[in-house]
Each structure stands twice: as structure tokens, then as C-alpha cells.
């Protein structure tokens, strides 16, 4: 559909001095959109606060708006030499395509230069006019709304889930093209920024088309990944959950989504995919009396019954079973018969199929909180997919009125195992549900979703972290890939052993928001798992890990003292987290025969290292007393205000081979302690939604990025007057989201050749992150928003060359711009 963008380039302020002699600048602006549209404002002479007041319009195609950003370039006019660049602004116009979104965009945008950072602000207006036209074979998919928040947007009602959608594009990375050898850094960085922005637009547009095909109107829990494969190119992936949502009737006037399905037709080649998908599925175990009603069954309809959301409306989940996960190690340069994109597509399909079969073997029919990640090191990459296998209520969509009483009747049933006691999918100790005494429950449940309000918890939650690291030989290609894939199962096992051990010692039995990250370095492999642990009432009380001493040569006294240590630690945790149960003698002194199978965790003492392992299971002294969790909500605590979102970046230079678990633990403790110190003035606070991102570079440095929100509880409302609130939560405590204004997705590169002069790499990063946040705020404000939820730094790569005093950093951030009411 053709449309018209009306643009106003009004004025700028606080421009840098480009002409030393007159201490001012002669600024003008170039505006570009796509390949054909170009406009140039007149030169405003000798001013740092120029006013152009230029208004003009571009005629564009709708699909162009979905892919192309509006490019604004501010320059300093030079009569004799070439004009000097002041900076650029990229504006995504997609939010304007959304029928419920803002109609115009208006505000000051910081002028960003990849070499100098923010240099003044420019006031831009843009308004979009789309001429209605219904083309059957359209390329554009405007009108499909994207939400990065992994939940049903506030103020909307879910009608149904339509399926898992994914898309991927591959392109050469401009940084690795031959032309880059002769190109100036600024041009190279700008080429990358432009390309990446465009690619992510393309992914969204294509996903949008798929969404229209399956007759959905939005994508929830949209996740975007940039896989920087170096010389192999750049892959932009997007996954999400297609769904139909409508605006809640209670909220002002009910704005129904336009019925997009009307003018979209399914082209023949897409139909085939649907047919094939049906043959993929065969769920005998799901024969359920509600199943046939309205044909709403998700699993029937979807090729992959994966949902990327982490929070679901109450009553939707029938039962959660546990984590399903699949990993695979691939070589990027394998010369097979497929082209590059096709082969990558195949990789992911393999993994998804595996996840699906895991899910089926657990007698589940849906995977919740699904994510796909990729870690790359040179030509080897590890693809991972994780989610929580679960059952959902088939009746949920069929009978909306019944939703409420459905869940009120048996709250504990979510914890009950979906499979039969006689046909266990794997060895598991079942016991009677502690709440109803009817159902069978396992002794622990691990999930990747946010805390479920339906499951009653006792006491407060806690952050649990497990780290595994292992040196590997320097190698490349096939050998390297094999080595990594051989080690993968051990790593997985070790991570879970640690998680389980820590969970038990905490006196808890359930994990929410479990996230595992695998990092590969040149000579180190590392896995980090983090989750929020809590004590769920339906599940049995944890029993103390058992210390088994196989070799009888150890002193009895030694073992006893270790045992005592564990008991003390567990008791302390029970008191601290308010878990309200006592370590009865039965939990401590288990008789060997009976409880052996139940005690999932045994600690076998073989050598001195095992003893160290026991200490590892306990929190270090520094971490005690810091309340933290990896989820948006903390079991047992009600937040009342959002104090601050923080991003902590730590890079250590060390021979990575020498980095062991203990050293990594020390680093994390140090970062947490630092945060604790920063917020020491507040009494009751929780570091919530903590998420770590670790990357290993070469063989000598590791970068750890910790993001989270500092939230207060039980204190009188601390009113923080913000223009724009940015949070990595999908909600704002004590506020209501009134309107979703669209996705903010910024891709930025910053480079400097004066690292030492500006406070070192620390100063460089500090400045860049501050600038990124400033840009995000400006984009939110221009859409008439006052907050950004589900902020996520999906990519942050820092490269440096100390000898040349050089540093480069690349960041991608996403989030949902919203308008909130307090």
C-alpha cells in the first residue's frame, strides 16, 4: 500500500562547535528513506541552535516502512572541503503503522555519532498517511503488533494462541567485507548500523506475514537475536508467539483489532507447510474430553506447540512438568549442499523437533517460556533451546466464563505430575501432594517461566546460581566441535547437580525463571545457570543432601562436622527466608534403604575436591542477606516501587584457562556486593530480574553483564520523578500500563580512538551505556510514551586494542514503549 510520510525537521540545539574560528557550526540536515527518497535542508549559518523548520513529504510503500528506518544526518557545511558529519539519527516508523498505536512521532532525538557519541539534539516530527488498498499478495504485514514483553499485554484479553513463529535472515557483515579495509571507521560503523536495523525490520515483516497466515493479530514474547558469526556473516533471528488479543472492554472504549485476516490470503506454498505440520503431530495421550470443543487445541493446530511467553493468564496452565532442553554443536563453515541460510534453518528444525519429542515423552503437550540461543566462538557454535514442558487447560479458550472458578478449586493441581505413576518417563520420586493429599508430585520442579501465583509458596524466594567452567584445548573446526559436544552432557549434569544441591540447602523445592547460558571461549567452556528458588507448598519438604563416604579411610569426625555444617546452613536459610518448617529428625537422619531413591542428591566424598564442592553449595558470606531473584516477581514479597534499573558491566583480564568456578563465583559476588553498596541507603530492597550475560573473548578476557531492577517493598512509596521510566520488567510496580506504543529496537555502535583520555575502557563503556539509555528515552518520548518495559540488551560486544588506544562496542537494545499511569 502506498503511503505518505510527512516529515518536519524543525530545529536542533546544543550542537558541537565545528568551526573553531567562529565557535559555531553551519549545520544542515540530510534526510533519507529507502533508496529513492532524499531531502536536504538549507544551511543554517553560524549557530549552535539552528532552526530549519523544513517540512516535506516522502511517498513510500508500506513494506518499506517496515524495513527501512528514517535516516537523518546532520552535517556541517564547508565551502571548500567536504562537509563534516555531526551525527545521525535513525527513526523506526513501524510504530506508526499500528492502527492502535500513535499517529505521529514528535520530539527531540539525540544526534548520535559513532565516533563522538551524542552531540546535541534535533527536533523531528513524522506523520504517516497510508492509502488503503487491499492487495491479495501483499508483501507488507503492517498491523501486526509486536510485543517483546513475555506476557499478555496489560489491558488486553487473550483470545487464542495461534502458534510459534520464527524467521531468520542471513547477510554479510559489512565489518568483514573487503571494502572495509579501505573504508573509514565511521562509514563502516554506519553501514553496519543501517544494515542491522534493516535486517531486523525484514525479520519482523516476514514474521508478520506468517502471523497473518495463521490468522493471528499479534506477536507476543518477541525475541530478537543477532548472531555475529564474523566472516560467515550476520544472522538475525526472531521468534515469538502468534496470538489473537483484544483490548479489554472495561478500558475506555473497546478497540477491536482490525480483522486483518480478511484481506490476507494464503498462498499455495504456505499451505503445504500446514499440511506437513499435521502429520508431525500425534498426541494420543491428550485425548481429553474438552479437546474437540471448538477445535481450539493449540497442540493440534501448531507445528511446534512452543510459547515464548513467561507469564500466562490464570487458569491457562493445567500442570507444569519440568525443563526440556536441547543443544547441538555445529560448524559454521561446513560446505554442505545447502546454502548457508537453509543449513541454519535445518539446525534449528532439528533442535525444535528434539524439544518436541522431549515434551511428548513427558506426556506434555505444550512448551512454555521457550527460548532459543546461540553461542559462537570462531567457526563453532552451540545452539540451545529450552522451555518448560506443561499441560494447559483445553477449556480455557472454550469457555471464558469458567476460567475463574476453574483455578480456584484446586490450586495445587499445577504441581501434580501429568504422567501415570506406573509409567514414569524417567526415574523420579513421587509423593502425595502436601496440599490436597490426592495428586502425585515430584520432589522438585524446575521451570523457565515466571512465578505462578496459583502455586502457594511459603516464605521468600532467593536467587540461585550455578557455574561450571572447564578449560579446553585450543583447536578449531571439527575437533573443537567434537570436544565441545562431548563435554556438553557433563556440563549439563554438573549444572543441575549444583542447582539441586543449592536448592536443597536453601530448604526450597521449586525453581522459576531458570536460564542457562553456555559461553565458549578459545580455551574455556562455561555454563551459567540462574533461577529464582522458592518453597512451594504442594511439594514435599527438601531433605538434606546425603554425604556418602565410599572409601572408609576418612575420619568419621570429618564427615560429622561436614554434616553439621550443612544442617546449620540449612537451618539458617530456613529462618532467613521464613520457610516455616523445622528440620525434623527424619529429614536429617534418613535411613539408607528407604530414602536412597528419594534423595536425588548425594554428595560423595572421594577426595579433597569434593569437600570444596560442599562449600560451593552454600552461599558465600557476601551474598547472604542480599535479597535477589532472577524473575520479575519475588515469591513472598510484594514490590511497591521501582527504584532503578541497573546495568553492571565487568570485564576481567586473566588467563581464562586459569579461571575456575571459584574465581567466577568471586566475581559475581563482587558485582552483587557492589550493587548492595550502591543501594545501601535503602532499607528494604530486592535486586529483581537479575540476568547475567557472560562472554569469553580470545583466551584472556571475559565480560560479564548483569542487568536487573532494584525494587523496594514495605516502604512508603518512594516517588521517583522520571520523565521516562526504563525497566527490564514487563510491568511497572504501582502503575498501570495504559497503552502500548510499539517496539523500540535500537542498534548502535560506538568507537573511540581516545580510550585512555576518557577514563579508560570503563569510562568508554559508562559513557556509551548512558548514551544508549538516553537514546531509548528519547524514542519513547517521541512516541508520546513515558516508560519502556521489558528492556533488554540483547547484544553487547566490546572489542579493544590497547596498543592503538582503540575500542569499539556494539549494542542492541529492545523493549516496549508504553504509556503508564501511576
Amino acid at each position: 500500500m502506498p503511503g505518505k510520510i510527512k516529515i518536519g525537521i524543525l530545529k536542533a540545539r546544543n550542537l558541537p562547535i565545528m568551526d573553531r574560528s567562529s565557535e559555531s557550526s553551519d549545520a544542515f540536515v540530510e534526510v533519507r528513506f529507502g533508496n529513492d527518497n532524499y531531502y536536504k535542508t538549507p544551511v543554517y549559518k553560524k549557530s549552535l541552535d539552528p532552526e530549519w523548520n523544513s517540512r516535506f513529504f516522502f511517498e513510500v510503500e508500506e513494506d518499506e516502512i517496515q524495513e527501512e528506518p528514517l535516516q537523518i544526518r546532520v552535517l556541517d557545511h564547508d565551502t571548500y572541503s567536504s562537509h563534516d558529519a555531526i551525527g545521525k539519527v535513525y527513526i523506526d516508523l513501524k510504530p506508526l503503522l499500528n492502527p492502535n498505536g500513535p499517529t505521529a512521532l514528535n520530539g527531540f532525538f539525540p544526534i548520535f555519532d559513532t565516533l563522538h557519541g551524542i552531540r546535541g539534539d534535533i527536533k523531528v516530527q513524522a506523520r504517516l498517511e497510508i492509502l488503503s488498498d487491499c492487495n491479495e499478495y501483499r508483501k507488507s504485514s503492517s498491523g501486526v503488533q509486536f510485543f517483546t514483553s513475555s506476557r499478555i499485554p496489560e489491558g488486553y484479553v487473550l483470545q487464542n494462541f495461534c502458534g510459534f513463529v520464527e524467521e531468520m535472515v542471513l547477510n554479510d557483515d559489512p565489518e568483514y567485507q573487503w571494502i572495509d579495509k579501505i573504508r573509514a571507521p565511521r562509514a563502516s560503523n554506519e553501514a553496519r548500523q543501517k544494515l542491522f536495523t534493516k535486517l531486523s525490520g525484514e525479520v519482523q515483516r516476514r514474521i508478520g506475514l506468517k502471523v497473518l497466515d495463521i490468522e493471528a493479530n499479534c506477536v507476543l514474547g518477541y525475541q530478537q537475536y543477532f548472531d555475529l558469526e564474523g566472516e560467515f556473516g550476520i544472522v538475525v533471528r526472531g521468534i515469538g508467539t502468534a496470538a489473537n488479543i483484544i483490548r479489554q472492554a472495561g478500558n475506555s472504549k473497546s478497540q477491536l483489532f482490525p480483522e486483518i485476516s480478511k484481506h490476507s490470503k494464503i498462498s499455495p506454498n504456505r499451505l503445504t507447510k500446514k499440511i506437513s505440520s499435521e502429520s508431525d503431530l500425534n498426541h494420543q495421550n491428550l485425548i481429553n474430553k474438552q479437546e474437540n470443543q471448538n477445535g481450539h487445541s493449540i497442540s493440534e493446530k501448531m507445528e511446534y506447540p512452543f510459547l515464548t511467553l513467561q507469564q500466562y493468564p490464570s487458569g491457562f496452565i493445567k500442570s507444569v512438568c519440568g525443563i526440556v532442553c536441547s543443544r547441538s554443536v555445529k560448524l559454521l563453515n561446513s560446505n554442505n549442499e545447502f546454502d548457508d541460510l537453509e543449513s541454519r534453518d535445518k539446525w534449528w528444525i532439528e533442535i525444535r523437533n528434539e524439544i518436541r519429542s522431549h515434551m511428548k515423552s513427558l506426556d506434555c503437550h505444550v512448551v512454555l517460556g521457550y527460548t532459543e540461543t546461540k553461542s559462537i566462538c570462531e567457526d563453532v557454535c552451540v545452539l540451545s533451546a529450552t522451555g518448560t514442558a506443561a499441560l494447559f487447560n483445553e477449556a480455557f479458550f472454550a469457555n471464558p466464563l469458567k476460567r475463574i472458578d476453574e483455578n480456584s478449586s484446586e490450586k495445587c493441581s499445577i504441581c501434580h505430575v501429568p504422567y501415570d505413576e506406573t509409567e514414569l518417563p524417567f526415574p523420579v520420586a513421587l509423593s502425595k501432594c502436601a496440599v490436597c493429599g490426592q495428586g502425585q508430585v515430584p520432589d522438585v520442579i524446575f521451570t523457565s517461566i515466571q512465578p505462578l501465583p496459583e502455586i502457594e509458596t511459603i516464605g521468600r524466594g532467593s536467587l540461585i546460581k550455578a557455574i561450571v567452567s572447564r578449560p579446553r584445548k585450543k583447536s578449531s573446526g571439527e575437533i573443537s566441535a567434537k570436544m565441545i559436544s562431548d563435554y556438553m552432557p557433563f556440563m549439563e549434569y554438573e549444572l543441575h547437580r549444583q542447582l539441586l544441591g543449592k536448592l536443597k540447602i536453601k530448604g526450597m523445592n521449586m525453581l522459576y525463571g531458570l536460564k542457562v547460558q553456555i559461553s565458549i571461549g578459545e580455551n574455556l567452556l562455561m555454563g551459567i545457570a540462574e533461577a529464582t528458588a522458592c518453597f512451594a507448598a504442594p511439594l514435599p519438604k527438601p531433605i538434606l543432601p546425603k554425604i556418602i563416604n565410599d572409601k572408609m579411610n576418612r575420619e568419621f569426625k570429618d564427615i560429622e562436622s561436614l554434616k553439621k555444617l550443612l544442617i546449620d546452613e540449612m537451618q539458617r536459610n530456613i529462618d532467613f527466608y521464613g520457610l516455616e518448617f523445622k528440620l525434623s529428625s527424619s529429614t536429617i537422619e534418613q535411613t539408607d534403604s528407604e530414602n536412597d531413591s528419594k534423595a536425588l542428591l548425594k554428595i560423595e566424598l572421594d577426595d579433597y575436591r569434593e569437600k570444596e564442592n560442599i562449600y560451593q553449595l552454600m552461599d558465600s558470606a557476601a551474598k547472604k542477606n542480599i535479597l535477589a531473584c532472577s524473575t520479575e516477581y519475588m515469591p513472598g514479597i510484594e514490590f511497591n516501587s521501582n527504584l532503578q534499573m541497573f546495568t553492571s558491566i565487568y570485564r576481567c583480564e586473566a588467563k581464562l584457562v586459569q579461571m575456575n568456578i571459584k574465581k567466577f563465583n568471586e566475581i559475581f559476588d563482587y558485582i552483587l556486593e557492589g550493587l548492595n553498596y550502591k543501594f545501601r541507603k535503602y532499607k528494604n530492597y530486592v535486586l529483581a530480574n537479575l540476568s547475567t550475560d557472560t562472554s569469553l573473548f580470545d583466551d584472556d578476557h571475559a565480560m560479564i553483564i548483569l542487568t536487573g531492577s532494584c525494587l523496594t517493598y514495605g516502604e512508603s512509596n518512594i516517588d521517583i520523578k522520571n520523565n521516562v521510566e526504563i525497566t527490564n520488567l514487563s510491568y511497572v510496580p504501582n502503575a498501570r500500563i495504559e497503552r502500548y506504543l510499539g517496539l523500540v529496537n535500537l542498534f548502535l555502535i560506538r568507537e573511540s580512538t581516545q580510550i585512555k583520555e576518557n577514563g579508560g575502557l570503563s569510562g568508554f563503556m559508562h559513557c556509551f551505556i548512558t548514551e544508549v539509555l538516553a537514546l531509548v528515552r528519547a524514542h519513547v518520548l517521541s512516541l508520546d510514551g513515558n516508560a519502556l518495559v521489558s528492556f533488554k540488551m540483547t547484544e553487547c560486544v566490546l572489542l579493544d586494542n590497547p596498543h592503538r588506544n582503540q575500542g569499539q562496542c556494539l549494542i542492541n537494545v529492545t523493549g516496549d514503549a508504553v504509556r503508564i499511569v501511576k
Binding site: M645, Y650, R651, G674, L761
Partner: protein, 362 residues
């Protein structure tokens, strides 16, 4: 410690203890020592953690500084999310000056050369060079911005630098002293502190008409200064004797009323009257020459205060003298016939000058 170790938030977090240390030119290491000394609660924390927190703050301050130099930009900038109260607090702290340092800075012209020679001032006042440089730059920045603006200095300072009233008033005086290039560096004036000069400057600003635009290197209205020429009449022979008689008579009366027995001062003033009076009138007469204007404080000291001090007159006596001198000048017969606007002009001049002298007389 890592090579990168930072923590950034969406709202600007500022520790004002650290901010004031940064302003005073402490290095990160010195700042840490100071914080540990000051705050007992942080003693248990690891030093690296305190250090890192200070670094984060310093990173912010270094970026913030460009906006603090033009505080009205601080309100519109998008880089940091700062609340209005925070802005006020930051600006107020940043523009806080040390009176001893400022006194030294005013001794010289605000040239680029002096900026490099701030070490001496730093040594003399026991302040850090960085702090001196900030105070120097602040003053220079204010003067630079004000040079392009018209209207009263105070209003412009309040508007462009978002300073609270009292601080803005002080800066008004300091700017006034600096840009009219009053010479405060004479050794004989070294006993005077910054507050004395601020007081005197404010007297002039509020009592004497200003030009409202900074031209010909002076803030004063030129016609007004020229009118002082007419005051010369008072030192002419026919009037000075009469004036002297009236003043001494008046003083005797006042002293009598105050039950002061000691009449030594009457004798002294009797001797000094002609010199002092001539000096005061000469100063007025020459104010329209910019060089003489620059030496105003020195002239007042050398030609009035010093002679009085030499004979050990106390401040109270000088006050009475100046008061009587002013009052009785109007009563000198026939003086307004010679110059009709004499009373008005004389009062304008003399109230201010006598207030200055009294302030400086210590």
C-alpha cells in the same frame, strides 16, 4: 579489578558526598580515603567496592561537567535523567566558591596565562589546583556569557546559571569587580577579605546607575560618573572652611550626646579635615577615568583610611565623621546656588563611598 567495571542506571544516581569531594578536586584514591574516614558504615565494605562506586560517580561527573558549565542546558539535555531538585543542588554545589581562592583570583586579570598559574593560589590557600581551576573557569564562564547579554547582571545570572538568590548576588558582585577590573592586588589591600569587596561592589551596584550593557569595559553609566566632576565645588576655598566648621561642630554635638569624654578625635579631624575632604572629592572627581576607577579601593585606602589609621582613629569615630560630613555638606551656604543638583549628586556619591570606607575600616 577489571578493566571495565561500571554500573549504570536509568536515573542518575549521585552521591553528594562524593560530588563535593570531586568538586574540591580530590582524585579517586583521595576521595576513597576521605569517604572511609567520614562514613563509619562503609568500613566493613571492601575497598575495591567503594573505589568502584566512586569511579562510577566520577564518570558521571566528568560527563555532567559540560552541562554544569552552562546550567540552563542541564534542564534540556537528554543525556542524563535528572530531577529539578537535583539540578538545583548540583549547580549550587558546582558554583560554590572558596572566598580565599576567589579573593586571590580577583587579584589578577582572568587571562589564559593566569589559568596556568593557579598553582600559586592553590599553595597559598591550601586548596587543590583542580578546585581553583574550577572556580576560575566558573567565573570566566559566567563573565563570558554575561558579556553578550543585556540587562541587570543579577537577573541574567539567575536565569542562565540557575543559581539560588544569595549565591547569584555574590556572583553579581564578583563579576562586577572582575570585569571593571578593580585592582585588589595591592599589598596594602591584602588585609581585606572577599566579603568586604562583595559588600562594596553591591553598594555601588545598588546605588549607582548601571549602563545595563557591558560597553567600554565598564558597567557604569558614563554620564553619571561625569556628574561627579561637579562635586569639586566642595573643596573650593570658599566652601571648605564653612563645611569644616559645620562638621566639627556637629561631631562635637554627637560625641557629647554619646557621653564620650574623649575628644581627641575632634582635634585630629580638625588637623586632617582639609586633606581628607580634598581626597574624597578628588576620588569622586576622577572616577570617570577608567584607570582611577580601577584604583578606587586603593585610593580610598591610601588617601583616607591610612591617614586615619596612622593617628589611631577608631572605626566608630570615622563613622561619625563620615555621617556628619555628608549631612553638613548640604548645609554649606550658597552651594546649591553654584550647582543646583549638588545635594542629589553628592548624596549618591557619598552614601556609597562612606559605606565602603566603613566596611573597609578594620
Amino acid at each position: 579489578m577489571g578493566t571495565v567495571d561500571v554500573c549504570i542506571g536509568n536515573n542518575l544516581i549521585i552521591d553528594f558526598d562524593i560530588f563535593s569531594l570531586w568538586i574540591d578536586g580530590f582524585t579517586i584514591e583521595q576521595c576513597k580515603t576521605e569517604i572511609v574516614k567520614k562514613d563509619l558504615s562503609v568500613r566493613n565494605c571492601k575497598e575495591t567496592i567503594i573505589f568502584r562506586d566512586i569511579m562510577d560517580n566520577y564518570h558521571n561527573f566528568n560527563r555532567l561537567e559540560q552541562y554544569l558549565q552552562i546550567p540552563c542546558r542541564l534542564r534540556e539535555q537528554l543525556m542524563f535523567q535528572v530531577s529539578e531538585e537535583m539540578i538545583e543542588k548540583l549547580v549550587q554545589c558546582y558554583y560554590q566558591y572558596n572566598p580565599y581562592v576567589m579573593r586571590e583570583i580577583l587579584n589578577h586579570k582572568l587571562t589564559h596565562k593566569q589559568r596556568k598559574d593557579l598553582d600559586d593560589i592553590a599553595d597559598k590557600t591550601e586548596t587543590r589546583v583542580r578546585s581553583c581551576r574550577r572556580q576560575f573557569d566558573n567565573l570566566r564562564q559566567i563573565i563570558r556569557i554575561l558579556d553578550d547579554l543585556k540587562g541587570p547582571i543579577l537577573r541574567n545570572i539567575e536565569e542562565y546559571f540557575c543559581l539560588p538568590r544569595s549565591l547569584a548576588e555574590d556572583y553579581t558582585a564578583i563579576v562586577f569587580l572582575a570585569r571593571n577590573q578593580f585592582d585588589l592586588s595591592k599589598r596594602k589591600l591584602s588585609y581585606l577579605v572577599l566579603d568586604d569587596f562583595i559588600y562594596c561592589a553591591n553598594q555601588m551596584i545598588s546605588n549607582w546607575p548601571m549602563s545595563n550593557s557591558f560597553e567600554h569595559d565598564s558597567d557604569f553609566n558614563r554620564d553619571f560618573l561625569l556628574s561627579f566632576k561637579e562635586l569639586k565645588i566642595l573643596s573650593e576655598k570658599e566652601f571648605i572652611d564653612e563645611h569644616k566648621r559645620l562638621v566639627l561642630h556637629g561631631m562635637a554635638k554627637v560625641l557629647n550626646n554619646n557621653m564620650t569624654k574623649d575628644c581627641r578625635c575632634l582635634i585630629l579631624f580638625d588637623e586632617l579635615f582639609k586633606d581628607l575632604s580634598r581626597s574624597l572629592i578628588d576620588i569622586a572627581y576622577s572616577l570617570n577615568h577608567s584607570k582611577d576607577m580601577k584604583d578606587l579601593f586603593f585610593d580610598l585606602f591610601e588617601r583616607f583610611i591610612e591617614p586615619c589609621k596612622d593617628v589611631k582613629l577608631i572605626r566608630n569615630e570615622v563613622t561619625i565623621f563620615l555621617d556628619e560630613y555628608r549631612k553638613k555638606a548640604h548645609l554649606v551656604p550658597d552651594i546649591s546656588k553654584e550647582y543646583p543638583k549638588f545635594s542629589h549628586t553628592f548624596d549618591k556619591y557619598f552614601t556609597t563611598i562612606s559605606n565602603c570606607i566603613i566596611q573597609m575600616y578594620h
